[in-house]
Symmetry: C2
Subunit: 358 residues, 2 copies
């Protein structure tokens, strides 16, 4: 008889799909599932004070990570943290202002990039590893734990713009006008992300996802050179097996639907799809090389229950028979969707998926 923990690990639907093994139904989770649409999250957030305090408070971060699992029974929990903790760990000033989003001291030029300090990042990030470690003990046995970081290009845009951006003027200007500085920044970020994700894996993360929210803002050629190349570098530097278990990697480029073939070729185990891709077409294009995660439009959760159920059914039918699909939204869940509508999604995945997994 194998021991309990091994048996259970091998039974987690989410990890099975990422290893290409058959499952009884697609595992599911939501990007940004621990978040403001949940009243219990808003209560804990109010206790924590500001957003960054919540990220660095391991006990409360553990709590908000667990909240959606208790409510919806997802097959995977994702560490509660933020992609901008890394620039902070590198020495950049980062703040979150209510109603405004992140505000950073914008970087410009090679010398500012050179001043970023990779060496001490684990000191700042220690509470995050502690959150992971707590979660690896407290999560139900059948729920996988996902660690994550932002893709170098995506994180770089915030660092160079000084916050969110609509058209990435400053980061594109640096990319085209001073590509050496941008490459220096991206390389530093790739090394830091690798160390950060490995820290999460050593603390107990069973899979990791790299979020490239803004890779889709690049030209086809620039995406290869300034985003995918660095994600590929990270993937090749990650711990891919830990304590006898494979540690799968998911790459998610929002707006990357045109480039799926090359993303599938970057060494990861799964691709995240946004909602602009037809999932059946995506499956044909990547030809079983990687699992697919996605891809319902998060705005579908504004619709009445019957419409949500129909969409879940359409996506299941679009993917078709067999394993290889992690059901998710195509981007983070919106803060103002009714929590019951997320429940309708969950119930529909349970009810409608069996026919594709005989």
């Amino acid at each position: 008889m194998s021991n309990k923990s091994t048996t259970i690990a091998s039974e987690k639907r989410f990890l099975k799909v990422l290893k290409g093994e058959p499952v009884d139904r697609p595992p599911f989770w939501f990007m940004r599932q621990a978040g403001r649409y949940l009243p219990e999250y808003r209560a804990t957030r109010a206790d924590a004070g500001d957003f960054l305090s919540l990220c660095y408070n391991s006990e409360l971060a553990e709590e908000v990570t667990l909240q959606p699992i208790r409510r919806y029974g997802m097959d995977a929990a994702i560490l509660f943290a933020d992609i901008l903790l890394l620039p902070q760990a590198l020495g950049q000033h980062v703040a979150f202002k209510a109603g405004e989003g992140p505000v950073l001291d914008a970087l410009s030029g090679s010398s500012a990039v050179a001043r970023l300090q990779r060496e001490g990042i684990h000191d700042t990030l220690a509470p995050i590893y502690d959150t992971v470690s707590r979660l690896s003990r407290s999560l139900p046995d059948d729920v996988a734990l996902i660690g994550f970081a932002g893709a170098p290009w995506t994180v770089a845009t915030y660092m160079v713009e000084g916050g969110s951006s609509k058209d990435f003027r400053k980061s594109k200007a640096m990319l085209y006008d001073n590509p050496q500085a941008m490459h220096l920044l991206l390389d530093k970020l790739a090394q830091s992300v690798t160390a950060y994700l490995n820290g999460q894996i050593l603390a107990g993360a069973q899979a990791v996802q790299i979020f490239d929210s803004w890779g889709g803002s690049l030209s086809a050629a620039a995406y290869q050179e300034f985003s995918l190349a660095y994600m590929r570098k990270i993937v090749s530097g990650l711990i891919r097996e830990h304590e006898g278990r494979k540690v799968p990697v998911i790459l998610f480029t929002k707006g990357g639907g045109l480039w799926l073939e090359s993303i599938a070729d970057a060494g990861a185990d799964a691709l995240g799809l946004d909602w602009t891709c037809d999932i059946g077409e995506a499956r044909r294009r990547v030809g079983g090389k990687v699992a697919l995660q996605g891809n319902m439009d998060p705005s579908m959760l504004y619709a009445p229950p019957a419409r949500i159920e129909q969409e879940v059914g359409d996506i299941l039918a679009g993917f078709g028979e067999g394993s290889g699909h992690v059901f998710n939204l195509g981007h983070g869940i919106h803060l103002d969707v009714p929590p019951e509508h997320a429940g309708v999604f969950v119930e529909a995945v349970h009810r409608l998926s069996a026919q594709y997994h005989k």
Copy 2:
């Protein structure tokens, strides 16, 4: 001998490419070429007062339309106007506030949609037709005149959100929660856009472009149903031949790269490509069915001259030999690019394109 005007019309590079005829070099223009990056535009705009006053002042709108042609010698001029003149003509309140963008009284629900009045739109839009008519007389003989309107989905997002949006929550909520109201709105817009573009064609526009700036925010299925279906309807209702000349139609969906095959099948003569598509790959996919317009990243104009020249060369090489390419940016020119950099682009198109048109 044919008369002068016929001879000259048949010599316009821009129209030739859209008819599939050979040219000596690709014609070029910039989306939003009459705009704030030009000091002469800023001067005229200051004379006009606010943005809407400039749009409705035929004399000044003619002047700003001509300004980039004088400076750069584009092969096509595009009417100076705005896609939100149409909601205004339908009776919705529209204002442009400095530094804030458009502000509309947000529509919600079927009854608000029902109150929009299609019948009187030409009264409001008469000055726009007058601008077109003036331009058809004042433009140099070798410069084509493009009329335009927003795609129904794109215009609808502004009407429902009450302005610009990052994630189109209200318009997606209406689309999924009350699709009947959204279809009613889109149908009304499609009929109005058809009438508006036909008005421009009768006033002298030699080609028209439909701008679907936000079609790429939709799922693959929703794009077909809520955006492309209405553009197809418009295309089928347009005057396609006027005074013995074919009037070509260009469809531009930003973020529509995944759907090029279906857009190419909508009855238009050309597709606009944003910069996320590789133009060579796009040409292979649409197989000569339509001409392609695009697709340099507008942010490339921040780069030094040598980098801009390299990019122009890469796009020319990517498209390859023969006619079928209208060189343009992949979206509107940014307001803060140096005008000299646009000149570098123009010079590079002239210098580097001959080898593909032997």
